[in-house]
């Protein structure tokens, strides 16, 4: 009796959430796909069939080619930088030093701040103005006699986006550190002890024992950081506004849809972003839920 009543009750209680996800995630994705295949341009909706024309236009647009280049550079610098820095910090903090939790909190605090705040501050730190108007990090470098470090930051041709990745590393490397630190803590102390008895030094222990055992963490970090790079948006808007040399697909989509009213093409950008992220995330979700089921 009781069990039957509860069997319906559980479905009843969870169904509003499932319905919301069904509509706001899956139906909306379908809707976006439909818009991307339409001629919709302008304020009023127009679902006239347009085949894959929007996608063809997109790839023919030089601006979208800049976007792809920028995304590749940003992803490379951001993901590699965050992983190297995050791993190094985690190993240093794993040595049982005094003040460990202080450093850990310090490296992690940028995670609590919005990309907009980070962007507004870094925009002034990376002020490219020269001569008597030199300021920010360039001024700091000049004062310290490190003139060779003075540079154009995000206004550097082609590689400017790497400067944005630097601000993103500032924000996200602490998170990567936390992932690695949790991974390191999960490795039993006996393993390290056994290796030490066998005569391995600390460096060898990390290289040959810890690093292989941490490969699931590295995989998670790669996927999480990689999918964040594909989505990067507000950080660039706050640092550089809508400048073409620093354009990425997320900004292109926002601008071409809501400023330019090219709804069809904007939807196509959204769908392409979704596909590129799904390729990373779906295997990841399957992998983690499978691991969990085995446990």
């Amino acid at each position: 009796m009781l069990r039957d009543k509860d069997r319906y009750l559980n479905i009843l209680l969870i169904s509003p959430s499932i319905l919301a996800i069904l509509i706001f995630v899956y139906a909306f994705i379908g809707w976006s796909v439909r818009v991307s295949l339409s001629k919709w341009k302008g304020l009023s909706a127009d679902y006239t069939w347009n085949g894959i024309q929007n996608y063809l236009d997109l790839f023919a647009d030089p601006r979208f080619q800049i976007d792809i280049r920028n995304t590749l550079i940003f992803t490379g610098v951001f993901v590699i930088g965050s992983i190297l820095l995050g791993f190094t910090l985690a190993v240093m903090l794993d040595q049982g030093l005094k003040g460990e939790s202080f450093f850990r909190s310090l490296f992690l605090f940028p995670m609590a701040i919005s990309y907009i705040v980070t962007g507004v501050v870094w925009r002034w730190l990376m002020n490219p103005a020269g001569g008597s108007r030199t300021s920010g990090l360039n001024l700091l470098f000049t004062n310290m006699g490190l003139d060779s470090l003075v540079n154009q930051w995000h206004t550097t041709p082609t590689w400017g986006i790497a400067a944005i990745a630097l601000a993103a590393i500032w924000q996200m490397s602490g998170y990567t550190m936390a992932l690695y630190l949790a991974g390191l803590r999960a490795i039993p102390e006996d393993l390290k002890e056994a290796a030490r008895i066998d005569g391995a030094n600390e460096l060898q222990i990390y290289r040959h024992i810890m690093l292989p055992l941490l490969s699931p963490v590295t995989l998670s970090a790669l996927i999480i950081l990689g999918h964040m790079s594909l989505k990067v948006f507000d950080l660039i808007v706050a640092i550089a506004g809508k400048q073409l040399p620093l354009d990425v697909p997320a900004i292109y989509m926002w601008q071409i849809t809501f400023d330019g009213l090219f709804y069809g093409r904007g939807a196509a950008v959204g769908v392409l972003l979704l596909i590129s992220i799904a390729v990373l995330i779906i295997p990841y979700i399957r992998y983690t839920t499978k691991i969990e089921a085995e446990q």
Partner: protein
């Protein structure tokens, strides 16, 4: 060998302190600039400490940003509360009252937390206009719904870690599903609620994309208002810095006082509950 190792460890403070400087540099600029008087403001001396403590910049920034700060609070608090409650109920059901197909549905819910919102942005705006939910309520609704995956995940992982015997014992005593939730699980769920509330508070407070497409200038939350302030030519950089601190303060305070819970939310976001 042992002493050599110990000595080696202390060298680590050098890179750690250097890295601390890297992480604190932006905060240093924000804070010292904020406390300078207008007379002291000059890009050439931006790294110098202030001569005294003045509040000119904060007063100016607050007068410009106050309405959006309150908009953010008005939107974020209900959004965080409601999505946490939904997550708790969903997590309870998915962990302890599974129905046929629950294991298939869960990954589909999870996928929702990774999608690029650009892929649902046009339908979202169209839908909100269609049903007539505009401005802050619409924004809160978006944060509630797109928050369901992560809140459900966190609670599900927590409830799944509780022994089944706990429920069986209560069932023998005659408790039904809601009774077990209300009298057994809810009282021990507070740490998870804190984790999820902090996470939702932080991500809704810091969001820019939904805010910029769903609100207009009368109900901009803080991120949009700050970004517009930074983009305007007439508001000087020192006021922007002070504004940044005002915008960051609520989430920073949460982090400073509840950092432990913040970290747990962070790790849950990588599906590692």
């Amino acid at each position: 060998m042992k002493t050599q190792l110990r000595l080696g460890k202390y060298w680590l403070y050098i890179p750690l302190i250097l890295m601390s400087i890297f992480y604190l540099l932006p905060m240093y600029i924000i804070i010292i600039t904020g406390f300078k008087s207008f007379a002291e403001i000059d890009l050439k001396t931006m790294w110098d400490l202030p001569h005294g403590i003045a509040f000119d910049n904060y007063i100016e920034a607050y007068s410009k940003l106050a309405p959006s700060l309150w908009n953010s609070f008005a939107m974020v608090i209900p959004a965080a509360l409601i999505s946490s409650i939904l997550g708790s109920v969903n997590g309870y059901i998915l962990a302890k009252w599974r129905f046929r197909g629950a294991d298939v549905i869960f990954p589909f819910i999870l996928f929702g937390m990774f999608i690029p919102y650009q892929s649902i942005l046009i339908p979202l705006v169209q839908f909100m206009n269609m049903v007539g939910i505009k401005g802050l309520p619409g924004l809160a609704m978006a944060h509630i719904i797109y928050g369901i995956p992560i809140t459900t995940l966190t609670f599900r992982n927590y409830y799944a870690s509780l022994p089944q015997e706990l429920l069986e014992a209560a069932k023998i005593d005659g408790a039904d599903m809601l009774g077990i939730y209300r009298y057994i699980l809810l009282p021990i769920s507070m740490p998870s609620f804190v984790v999820v509330l902090i996470w939702q508070f932080t991500s809704a407070w810091n969001d820019f994309l939904f805010a910029v497409v769903l609100t207009g200038n009368s109900d901009w939350p803080i991120t949009v208002a700050l970004n517009n302030m930074a983009g305007s030519q007439i508001i000087s950089w020192n006021v922007q810095m002070a504004g940044s601190l005002l915008a960051a303060l609520p989430t920073l305070l949460v982090y400073i006082f509840l950092g432990r819970y913040f970290l747990r939310g962070l790790l849950a976001g990588s599906l590692k509950g």
